[in-house]
């Protein structure tokens, strides 16, 4: 497949996936009745419930895929995902503590963001102590901090009363049913992508090695710091909207690279669209497969993501 075709195809696929998400649900809405205005309930169902939720799903998927693509170049590791440096762990501890204390949804969201930022600063200051931070040092610091958050999360789950556990587990698995209105998310994902595009060619060079990049005129330390801050903020935004939705950030950049898209000037926008579409479709399945019961969307992305990831790993067998 010609890599130049991927981006136009995704631009076509995006409205289709959103339309599909609007038309599928536990209540079926007739298109004809919707247009001539006779179905007011159906109209409010679509405009007030399904549309914001589909847009939130798109935003979260786009944020995670973009953050994943950036993290993979920053850590120079194709297996990196947006959560690998512990940002989701910090956010989860903030969110679960708020739930444990019985605070409202607003507090949960706010504290998740505080937790994510705290984790980001903690990992950065630990990895950066001696001025020169290598990709490996950052990766190790992040993985260990993430493991630490994991222990705190298990501790909170262990001491939580049973009635709170369901909400906590949904948050941890990734769930869009409490997503805030999608406007801010749409602004952040657009701003994030626009901010990244001017240095997308620098990412191509950095992906070939730090020394090579420096020799070709890239200010490596400054670029890496920018990548770290941007990828972390994108991830924090995604986690605050929908909890820890897995695999989008890992699989989407990989899938696009496997299809031959190695130029980040095309890869980054393609990742936003592909991640967005995947999460819109996954969320549609999550809320309609076992309706009226809702599944956490993270379960669906992981169920889709695990086989795809294993397939990729198998394909790469010859070139580890």
């Amino acid at each position: 497949m010609n890599p130049r075709l991927i981006l136009p195809l995704l631009i076509l696929l995006t409205p289709l996936s959103l339309l599909l998400a609007l038309s599928i649900g536990s209540v079926s809405v007739e298109l004809g009745a919707l247009i001539n205005g006779s179905d007011a309930l159906g109209r409010s169902l679509i405009v007030e419930l399904r549309l914001p939720r589909a847009l939130s799903a798109f935003v979260v998927g786009g944020l995670l895929a973009l953050a994943g693509a950036l993290m993979q170049v920053l850590l120079r590791n194709p297996l990196a995902d947006p959560y690998i440096l512990g940002i989701s762990g910090g956010a989860a501890v903030g969110a679960l503590l708020s739930m444990l204390l019985g605070l409202g949804v607003g507090w949960t969201t706010g504290n998740a963001f505080v937790g994510a930022l705290l984790s980001m600063l903690l990992v950065f200051s630990l990895a950066h102590r001696h001025g020169n931070w290598s990709a490996m040092r950052l990766l190790l610091t992040g993985v260990v901090v993430a493991a630490g958050w994991g222990a705190v999360i298990s501790f909170i789950l262990a001491i939580s009363p049973e009635r709170g556990l369901h909400g906590m587990l949904f948050w941890l698995m990734g769930d869009l049913s409490h997503a805030p209105p999608p406007l801010w998310g749409l602004i952040i994902i657009s701003a994030g992508l626009l901010f990244c595009l001017p240095f997308a060619r620098d990412l191509n060079i950095l992906a070939r090695g730090e020394l090579t990049a420096a020799a070709l005129g890239v200010s490596v330390q400054r670029l890496r710091l920018t990548l770290y801050v941007v990828a972390s903020l994108l991830t924090a935004t995604a986690v605050v909207i929908a909890g820890s939705v897995g695999f989008v950030g890992l699989v989407i950049p990989h899938l696009l690279r496997l299809l031959g898209l190695s130029d980040h000037r095309r890869l980054l926008p393609a990742a936003v669209l592909a991640g967005g579409c995947l999460l819109v479709l996954a969320d549609t399945v999550a809320r309609s497969a076992l309706a009226p019961q809702q599944l956490p969307v993270g379960v669906i992305t992981a169920l889709l993501g695990v086989p795809v990831f294993l397939y990729l790993l198998h394909q790469r067998g010859n070139h580890p």
């Binding site: 191509n204 020799a215 070709l216 005129g217």
Partner: protein, 259 residues
């Protein structure tokens, strides 16, 4: 023909508690082809990286033309100095063409895409190293020698004034060793472009054939540099390598062999 491209003054380079050179002055002038020789671990690569501005010296200064290297932005340095590193790493491999075009990076603006002119330069460079016809292949499918030639093509596409090369002949068969060093010599010899080169070599006879000047690293900070003809003697080479080196008369002058 004596204008300095790169100049060091009282340069001291250290790595891991070892001194590579101490209070060292050298001037790499337009038209000169320098060779850098020394035993394993004497700090050849460290010195090359320092001269390229990729690591900080312990003391002293390096000037590119009139300006201190530390005062120049990376992009400006990359327009003047091109580096062939010992090995590239391919966590995220691309095609041969994409890799070659990355040599144009320092010449392109923030939003600019590679144009027809950049593509022509890349194709010409691939042709010069004998890699024509494989533009769309993945880099991971190339052999070690082909990758080395690809790295050289990328450097030629970058088109710097000063070529710094870390073992350019590594992995290359004898034909490609000679033809690539010939290419490089011709570019440096072309007086209209004001170029110079400095390369790390392990083969004394390639140094004899292709270098006008030599830098010898003895370790412990001792450096000997100057015109190649003054330095290439069996006595100096024997002391450098700590192993007897003998000279045999060849068709184009002496050939040096380990004794």
């Amino acid at each position: 023909m004596s204008q300095a491209l790169l100049q060091t003054k009282a340069l001291t380079v250290e790595i891991g508690g070892k001194t590579v050179c101490r209070q060292w002055d050298v001037s790499i002038n337009i038209g000169q082809r320098w060779g850098l020789l020394g035993i394993n671990g004497s700090g050849k690569t460290t010195l090359l990286h320092t001269l390229a501005g990729l690591r900080e010296p312990a003391q002293g200064e390096i000037r590119l033309g009139e300006t201190l290297l530390t005062e120049l932005p990376r992009r400006t340095i990359a327009q003047k100095i091109g580096v062939l590193l010992q090995a590239d790493d391919d966590a995220f491999p691309g095609t041969v063409m994409e890799t070659t075009l990355s040599g144009r990076h320092p010449w392109l603006g923030q939003w600019q895409w590679e144009g027809e002119n950049d593509r022509m330069l890349a194709l010409a460079a691939l042709n010069d190293v004998g890699l024509n016809g494989v533009e769309q292949r993945q880099v991971t499918t190339l052999s070690g020698g082909e990758r080395r030639r690809l790295a050289l093509a990328t450097l030629l596409t970058q088109n710097p004034q000063l070529f710094l090369l870390d073992e350019p002949t590594n992995h290359l068969d004898p034909h490609h060793q000679i033809s690539l060093l010939d290419q490089l010599s011709q570019r440096v010899a072309d007086a209209t472009t004001e170029r110079a080169s400095l390369m790390i070599l392990h083969d004394i006879n390639l140094a004899t054939r292709f270098c006008s000047h030599l830098i010898l690293l003895f370790g412990q900070g001792e450096v000997l540099c100057g015109p190649a003809k003054d330095i290439l003697t069996t006595a100096i080479l024997t002391r450098l390598y700590g192993h007897p080196v003998i000279a045999v008369e060849g068709p184009n002058g002496p050939v040096f062999l380990p004794g």
